[in-house]
């Protein structure tokens, strides 16, 4: 085929060969998709209709898992917590990453060092982060309480991670240190850099304030980047919540299941309660939830994202 210039080979044959090569290149992905994505999805649906236990014994029970799920308090709690956690994480980390990126984009000395400090927490394992914060937020010997006591002079002992009023503050603070936030910060930096200077200079001539410039120039120009970050933020919140919250709060999502996202509940039901069938049903719900988020983001992006071409 190297010298496909001979008259006898028609364009149709060449096209066929071209397509065949393309498909062959795609074969690894196709196999992977079938085996590790499509088949598990179908299998998951099937197992969710059984009462399979961890030791493998399984009987068909129809929709009983789903019915029990809808009657279960802990499921609805988990569902609400998952949505709450995902949405707020997405918003907070995106805003924080944007702030960091903007700070880093001000032309000042030592920006490289600052970027090092801002990005470094992202590359440490979330387990280490979770344990570090468990002790920083500790009640009697925690760093934060000690600092606050030093500043205010009185003996402050807030139980950050166990008090229902403060646990969300603490957890969302920790999400600012995850890999996803660091990644977003870097992407925002490059997105901000790509905004054409002329647009800023034009609005300067018009006498625009910094805030106005941000709203009318910066935001629209980086909206594709914001979209990309929103998507990765959403996936990371759904996925990464396990690796962050399991060492932090245990599988029960203490206190009082306030941090028991669906991924934790799946782990608990499958491995502590041995209810693999039920855990599959929960996985189906998580899967559908992820799809819903995806569709939602897609719809919102159609209306708000400005593409140059």
């Amino acid at each position: 085929m190297k010298h496909a210039k001979s008259v006898g080979v028609s364009a149709k044959q060449r096209k066929f060969h071209n397509n065949l090569t393309a498909y062959l290149f795609c074969v690894p992905w196709a196999i992977g998709f079938l085996c590790f994505t499509l088949f598990p999805i179908i299998f998951m649906l099937q197992v969710s209709l059984t009462n399979r236990k961890l030791n493998g014994i399984s009987n068909f029970i129809g929709f009983a898992n789903y019915i029990n799920m809808f009657h279960s308090d802990s499921f609805w709690n988990s569902f609400k917590v998952t949505i709450f956690f995902t949405v707020i994480t997405m918003i907070i980390t995106t805003i924080w990453a944007m702030i960091l990126a903007m700070l880093l984009n001000y032309k000042q000395r030592l920006n490289g060092i600052f970027q090092f400090f801002y990005f470094l927490p992202s590359v440490i394992p979330s387990v280490a982060l979770a344990y570090a914060f468990r002790t920083i937020f500790g009640k009697d010997a925690g760093l934060l309480n000690a600092l606050i006591s030093m500043i205010t002079g009185s003996n402050v002992a807030v139980n950050w991670l166990y008090d229902s009023h403060t646990v969300y503050l603490a957890v969302f603070f920790i999400t600012l240190f995850t890999y996803n936030t660091g990644q977003m910060m870097l992407i925002f930096r490059s997105g901000l850099n790509d905004v054409p200077r002329e647009l800023y200079e034009a609005s300067d001539i018009d006498g625009a304030s910094a805030f106005w410039k941000f709203r009318t120039v910066t935001l629209p120009m980086i909206s594709p980047v914001v979209l990309f970050n929103a998507v990765t933020g959403c996936i990371s919140a759904l996925n990464g919540s396990f690796a962050l919250l399991y060492p932090l709060a245990g599988e029960n999502g203490d206190p009082n299941r306030m941090t028991q996202v669906l991924s934790l509940l799946i782990y608990k039901e499958a491995f502590s309660n041995m209810k693999v069938g039920y855990a599959s049903a929960l996985s189906v719900v998580l899967f559908l939830l992820a799809c819903c988020f995806g569709i939602l983001i897609f719809i919102v992006s159609k209306k708000t994202v400005y593409y140059e071409n």
């Binding site: 197992v47 996925n239 396990f242 991924s263 995806g294």
Partner: protein, 283 residues
Amino acid sequence: MNFIKTKSRVSKFLIMFLKVIIAIVMFSPIIWIFSGSFKELTEFTTSSSIIPQKATLENFAYIFQHSNYMLYFRNTVLLMFGATLGTLLSSSLVAYPLARMEFPGKNAVFAIIIGTMMIPNIALIIPQYIMFGKIGWLDSLLPMIIPAFFAYPYNVFLFRQFFRSVPKELDEAATIDGCSRVGVFTRVLVPLAKPTFVTIGILSCVFWWNELTQPVFFINSDKWRTLTIALMTSFMYTSGNAFVINWPSIMAASTLMILPPMLLYLFGSKFLVEGIKTSGMKG
């Protein structure tokens, strides 16, 4: 390069001040981890000073004596390299036709790839767990390494972005020289994409070094445990079985786990940062 220049010196100073404060806050957990690894257990649970009053190396000794730390290190390294090798090979292969060739179903394939990016790994982990159990791959590194050889959507996306940025003239030059499609791939695109390979390689290595979710589900025994699992569970008992979490040892183990990515970042920051930025490119 596009910088927003501030007008007054006051705001310049304020911004620098803000940056410093934020840097301290962002770096604080790492400082805490470092300092904690040199403290004794009683000191750790009773005081919260940054500098240990009685600095000791016993925690580092502890983690090597009371667990098979080198074994876990070996397992993590195996996992990291195996998965990275797999993903570099397969993702680049799959990205090639998506970037360079036209064929029926191309848009559908690409759409499905993007779609699967939205699926959280954890939603599919239970059926995968059962599947792997039936084949007998559980309690080994295979459930994580083998899928890497079949193209991760995210890395396919990254490679595609890069390939599209290579001018098509180079392709055509090679074809005129007599290279087949495969030849174009191996002799033109891959050498040019070396930086991208390095970037994605580093990103993948850091990812697997830090990964907890998949090993927790798939690995049972001590034989294949990775460092992240060990960090979570191996330092819970000082001696006997009184349930006490040996915090300073966890801090020491964390310190050891942080060092490689940190050094990697120091020396390879150019690649790492460039690579992450590339992934956000429009289109």
